[in-house]
Each structure stands twice: as structure tokens, then as C-alpha cells.
């Protein structure tokens, strides 16, 4: 088990929103193994600290990691400039499990920065569009300015993917949907027997989305959610990311909703 970070050079830093950037990272040393959609890495801002960040894209050995500035480490990482060096360990954890069964309807529900770990799933669905029946991406955000990857929606739509967006708080420039993300499910063609759902965002939003999907007839066993706790080691040793019987750095972050539905409603475990 290699816990030594590999050095990666920041090739580019792309602002996504006012507080979120996507870093494209190029290996300086031997690269980490290719991450699967949904897996995360531990990103190390030297001298500051290390945090888990999901992978929002890959190109060859390059990693794209989308980071929101909320704490000391993430603020340091989001301020990185091309040429800066960061440490990368991983990839860790479980993945979304794509490809899904051929002929399935895919429902992707993302809230806020939860779209970042789902982007590889969307890119897979776009690339393998003929494999699936209906593919829908439902995206919720606090405000229009906080929607991620907006310049990619047109490409996704052109590929035959239905993209629905909503915001909690509109401004006068917004002519789209306003309301909680679960309202985007209204009228969505979903075959309960032949569907797979992938949900990522704030935990309450994931729970409400999963329950709305259950109301639409989708079994919990066909939904996967991405959970996050205080991941430190990434290798199921330190126990910081424990959720009941799970160590989410190893058994998650992506888990079947049928396995965690009860855990997600417990105040304390």
C-alpha cells in the first residue's frame, strides 16, 4: 500500500464558479493507476494538508479534479496556478459501476458540486449513447451562477442526452426552472425494471432524490449514491470515515442506496 503522494504538476486551472475551479494535473513521477468514474484521490497541498477530491475527468494520465474552496486545503488548491506542484494519492474507493446494463434508462441526479464526480458517468453515457435507452441528467444548484460545466450541456444534449436544470434562487437573467431538484423528475420516462440511477450532492438532497425515485417505482437496489465523510488515510486504516459498518474510503464513496438508506437517516452512529 503506497501512501506516498505522487507529484503532479498543475497544467491548467479553470474557474467553474466563483469558488470552484477544475485543475488539470499532469504526472511528474509515475502516475497513479487510472481512476474509475466515481473514485477519488487524496490531494495534497504541500505544507497545508490533504483532502479527498473526486475525479471529474481524465485524459490519458492527466487528471481533472474539481475543487470548491471551503477550507484551508481546498482554498490553497483552488488558488494553484499552472506549474505548481501538488501531491496525489489514490485512486481510492468504489466507483459508479458503469457501464450500466445495455438498454437501461439512465437517470443522473446532481446537486451543487455533486455534478463533478458524476461527470465521468455523463461522459461515458455520451460516448456510449447507443448502449442506453433514455439518458437524463437532472442538475440542481443554489443559483444560476453556481451551475457547473454549463458550457458542456449543449454537447450533452446534442449527443441525445436530456439535460434538465433547476435552481433554488433565480435572478432576473434566469429563464429556466426554479425549485428543488426532485421536481425535475416530473414526467421523466423511467422504466423501473430497466433503469439505473446515480445520485450525488448534499446528503439530504440525495435522500430526497432517492425517495422520489422510489415513488416513481425505481427499486433502491438500482440507485447508487456517493457519500462522503472525513476521509484521511484513504485506505480504511484510520477509521475517520466510518459510517456504521462502512469505511467510506474503502466501501464508498459510491454505495447502493439499498445498503445505506437506513444509515442516512441516523443522527448519530
Amino acid at each position: 500500500m503506497n501512501l506516498v503522494p505522487c507529484r503532479y504538476r498543475v497544467e491548467s486551472s479553470r474557474p467553474e464558479t466563483a469558488d470552484t475551479v477544475s485543475l488539470t494535473l499532469v504526472p511528474v513521477d509515475t502516475p497513479i493507476p487510472p481512476p474509475l468514474p466515481g473514485q477519488f484521490t487524496m490531494l495534497y497541498a504541500f505544507g497545508i494538508g490533504e483532502i479527498p477530491i473526486s475525479v471529474s475527468g481524465t485524459t490519458g494520465d492527466k487528471l481533472v479534479q474539481t475543487i470548491r474552496a471551503v477550507g484551508a486545503v481546498s482554498k490553497q488548491l483552488t488558488s494553484c496556478r499552472p506549474g505548481d506542484i501538488v501531491g496525489v494519492r489514490g485512486p481510492y474507493g468504489t466507483d459508479w459501476g458503469v457501464p450500466a446494463p445495455a438498454g437501461a434508462d439512465l437517470v443522473v441526479i446532481a446537486g451543487g458540486i455533486g455534478l463533478a464526480p458524476l461527470r465521468p458517468v455523463i461522459r461515458h453515457a455520451v460516448a456510449a449513447r447507443d448502449r442506453y435507452r433514455h439518458v437524463a441528467i437532472l442538475i440542481g444548484s443554489r443559483t444560476p451562477a453556481e451551475l457547473l460545466f454549463t458550457d458542456e450541456y449543449a454537447d450533452w444534449r446534442r449527443a441525445g442526452v436530456e439535460v434538465r436544470t433547476t435552481v433554488d434562487r433565480a435572478d432576473t437573467s434566469w429563464s429556466g426552472h426554479v425549485g428543488v431538484v426532485t421536481t425535475l423528475l416530473d414526467g421523466l420516462p423511467v422504466d423501473p425494471e430497466e433503469s439505473a440511477a446515480f445520485v450525488c450532492g448534499p446528503e439530504v438532497m440525495m435522500r430526497l432524490s432517492a425517495e422520489a425515485l422510489i415513488d416513481a417505482g425505481l427499486p433502491a437496489s438500482k440507485m447508487r449514491v456517493s457519500l462522503e465523510r472525513n476521509m484521511r488515510c484513504g485506505t480504511a486504516v484510520c477509521g475517520h470515515c466510518q459510517l456504521g459498518p462502512l469505511l467510506l474510503c474503502r466501501d464508498g464513496p459510491v454505495v447502493g442506496y439499498d445498503h445505506v438508506a437506513a444509515l442516512m437517516t441516523c443522527g448519530e452512529l
Partner: protein, 153 residues
């Protein structure tokens, strides 16, 4: 009338009603088609109508000085638009405007209130239906008040 009855019967809001009850409601229903960006009503005006949306989307908005009309919610197919006609002072609390071409069933609020007085069982089902609409919107509003995305990781 038959066509209106069929359209009304197909709307989820009247799912619990008998054929006879739907037919009585249909007497006060007018199928309507609004072009995109049609102003349906303004805040503070008299409210004597409600709509069952079949296709299209409608925005609810509030006029905020200095910011213009701010959208507070979007309603789509299967939704009910308007409950201010139910209770005094029967004035709209928000404004509404279509976003896209919208097919809706327009119901005469005054006539429906009279019908509910004469047919308490229908009235009970209608009020239960509206209560469910209010509860759903309240829950959605509560969720938005949590400002979930502000804490997203």
C-alpha cells in the same frame, strides 16, 4: 363537453374523483392554450380562477423593487396553478407567466366553490387535493430554506 371531460379526467389532480364528479367539474372547465410569455395574473389582483397544467411550464414570480420580477417556483405538467381563489381575500399572492406554450384546463373558481357547497363529497376531495398541493410546495420550500448546496462538499 366530452372532450373537456376526457382532458380533465386525464389530469392527475382529479385522480380520486368519480366519473360523475369529474363531469360536474367539467361543466366549469375551459381548455386553454397560452402562448409562451403570456401573463396569467399579477400579484394583488382578484383571484377567481385556477388552472390544471397539461403541457408546458409556468413561472410564479414576485416583483421586487430594484430587482424586477424574481421567479420563486416553476410549475410543469400535472401541476395545479392557483389556490388564492379558495380563501378570502381571494387575491393572488404572486404573479404567473407562461415560460413555454402551455396547455391548461381553466376552472371557474366561483362556480367550483358553489359546486363544492352543493356536493360536499366532491368538495372534500377537492380540498384534500389542494391540501396535498400546499403540503408538497411547503415541503419543497422548506428544503430550499435549508440551503443545501451551500454546505455541499
Amino acid at each position: 363537453m366530452d372532450a373537456t371531460y376526457e382532458l380533465l379526467k386525464a389530469h392527475p389532480f382529479v385522480g380520486s374523483m368519480t366519473a360523475y364528479e369529474v363531469s360536474r367539474l367539467a361543466e366549469h372547465t375551459t381548455p386553454t392554450l397560452f402562448a409562451a410569455n403570456t401573463r396569467l395574473f399579477d400579484e394583488g389582483r382578484d383571484a377567481e380562477t385556477f388552472w390544471l397544467i397539461r403541457e408546458g411550464h409556468v413561472r410564479l414570480d414576485a416583483l421586487i423593487p430594484g430587482r424586477g420580477p424574481v421567479v420563486v417556483e416553476t410549475l410543469g405538467p400535472g401541476s395545479v396553478l392557483g389556490w388564492s381563489w379558495l380563501f378570502p381575500p381571494r387575491r393572488w399572492h404572486f404573479g404567473a407567466q407562461t415560460i413555454s406554450a402551455t396547455h391548461a384546463l381553466q376552472l371557474d373558481g366561483r362556480a367550483v366553490r358553489d359546486l363544492c357547497d352543493r356536493m360536499p363529497e366532491l368538495g372534500y376531495k377537492l380540498m384534500t387535493g389542494f391540501l396535498q398541493v400546499v403540503v408538497d410546495r411547503l415541503q419543497n420550500t422548506r428544503i430550499r430554506l435549508l440551503d443545501l448546496y451551500g454546505d455541499a462538499t
